[in-house]
């Protein structure tokens, strides 16, 4: 467990070299959100109707932005080899790195849900569900993207191709997520989609890391 903590902390350090940088994801998200209304002819109902979608897209985007370096940096500076050779089980290492990625790129959005809701005039009723759905869906998202990243680290052509298919795989997550939130906004029962998200999360977090680890091992050969 000590190793797990060490890896997470290290990745967080690298991401937020200086404390001021912790603010970046938040401001960035604010900017992205600000862009949408700019590009629309403003009128409240529309804004509300897109709000949910925007939040989810922002989530996807910032995970993708943070993702770029997830494994490639470590692979290129040689530290991934060291991690692979270290006595720490590689699955744990991978899980730690994914966790760090999630903390860096997604958690801020969850914390920002109230703001976004406010700026899109979402009724308060929907907020808890939105936040909860994000919390449930994004871990699976991180795992999926990590798998994609691992595959593209591989020098082998095949890996690269599969890597491309990962992003579309994220679609169901987004769909169910927005579903749940929409339901909540219209006061319908949200349990269904949420259960689905939870199930996916469980599956991803348990099955994902070994797959990622395997992909990386191949990639490093």
């Amino acid at each position: 467990m000590g190793a797990f903590r060490a890896i997470v902390l290290r990745d967080l350090r690298v991401a937020f070299r200086r404390w001021s940088e912790v603010a970046n994801p938040f401001v960035f998200f604010a900017v992205v959100v600000a862009l949408f209304p700019l590009s629309l002819s403003p009128s409240a109902p529309e804004l509300r109707s897109i709000g949910v979608g925007v939040v989810w897209i922002a989530a996807l985007l910032s995970s993708l932005l943070a993702l770029d370096g997830l494994f490639r940096n470590d692979a290129e500076d040689g530290s991934l080899e060291q991690l692979l050779l270290s006595p720490v089980p590689f699955g744990v290492t991978v899980l730690a790195k994914i966790a760090a990625h999630w903390l860096v790129s997604v958690l801020p959005l969850v914390l920002l849900v109230p703001l976004s809701a406010l700026s899109f005039r979402l009724p308060a009723s929907g907020l808890p569900t939105l936040a909860f759905a994000l919390l449930l869906a994004t871990p699976s998202l991180s795992v999926l993207l990590a798998l994609g990243a691992a595959l593209t680290v591989s020098l082998k052509r095949g890996g690269a191709i599969i890597g491309l298919l990962i992003l579309p795989l994220a679609a169901p997550l987004l769909i169910f997520g927005t579903r749940a939130t929409d339901f909540a906004l219209h006061g319908e029962p949200v349990a269904g989609p949420l259960y689905l998200l939870a199930a996916m999360a469980a599956a991803a977090v348990s099955l994902g890391p070994p797959a990622v680890a395997a992909a990386l091992k191949v990639g490093l050969e």
Binding site: E81, Q82, P87
Partner: protein, 206 residues
């Protein structure tokens, strides 16, 4: 044999890259206290061999074993007995020397203390400088510090003298000698074999 736990063995190793065979039928055995020096022209396959021994890349044929088990399927703590240092320094450029090393300490099973190492390597005055600002040699020295921290039994070193000044090379040679005296093993790929000429060594010519 006795104490197979600390024996590195290459069994008719063969590796192809592209259309070329880098080496084949490579057999050798290294027991506690043993040193193997890998020499050969650029592109001969030294790095490839070391990566194979570390279990990073599978050989095309044959196998490498550590303590009797294939290096590709070692138990975690058996892996903890092997330390590999390649052409890359494996440092995070955003982290300081200390932060980098503390990280590797956290991964190592039985970690040595840090300060004496930094002094020995003349890194004390840059302990809090980010790796990105270090000079090439300082980066290499930090890598060597990480090697020591791992406290491994088998050292796989790929051109460890790169970028080191005379003092650094001497220090490294001493380390290796001491490591071997303490019963450790070392496989070193280098273009300056004379540096390690001090003692009997298996010379692997590629």
């Amino acid at each position: 044999m006795l104490q197979t736990s600390a024996v590195l063995r290459g069994e008719s190793l063969e590796v192809w890259r592209g259309e070329r065979c880098l080496f084949e039928g490579l057999d050798f055995e290294l027991a506690s206290g043993g040193l193997a020096v890998v020499v050969g022209p650029n592109g001969a396959g030294k790095t490839t061999l070391l990566r194979t021994l570390a279990g990073l890349a599978p050989p095309t044929a044959g196998r490498a074993t550590w303590g009797g088990t294939d290096v590709r399927s070692l138990s975690p703590d058996a892996r903890g007995q092997i330390a590999y240092r390649g052409h890359l320094d494996a440092l995070k450029r955003e982290l300081t020397v200390v932060e980098n090393l503390e990280f590797y300490r956290a991964l190592a099973p039985r970690a040595a203390p840090l300060e004496p190492l930094l002094d020995e390597l003349a890194l004390a005055h840059v302990a809090d400088v980010r790796a990105r600002y270090l000079s090439a040699g300082q980066r290499r020295r930090t890598g060597l510090a990480a090697l020591r921290l791992a406290g491994a039994k088998l050292w796989l070193l790929d051109e460890p003298t790169t970028n080191l000044d005379a003092a650094g090379r001497q220090l490294l040679a001493d380390w290796v000698r001491r490591h071997l005296d303490e019963g450790g093993l070392a496989v070193i790929a280098t273009h300056q074999p004379d540096l390690f000429a001090g003692r009997p060594a298996v010379v692997i010519e590629l």
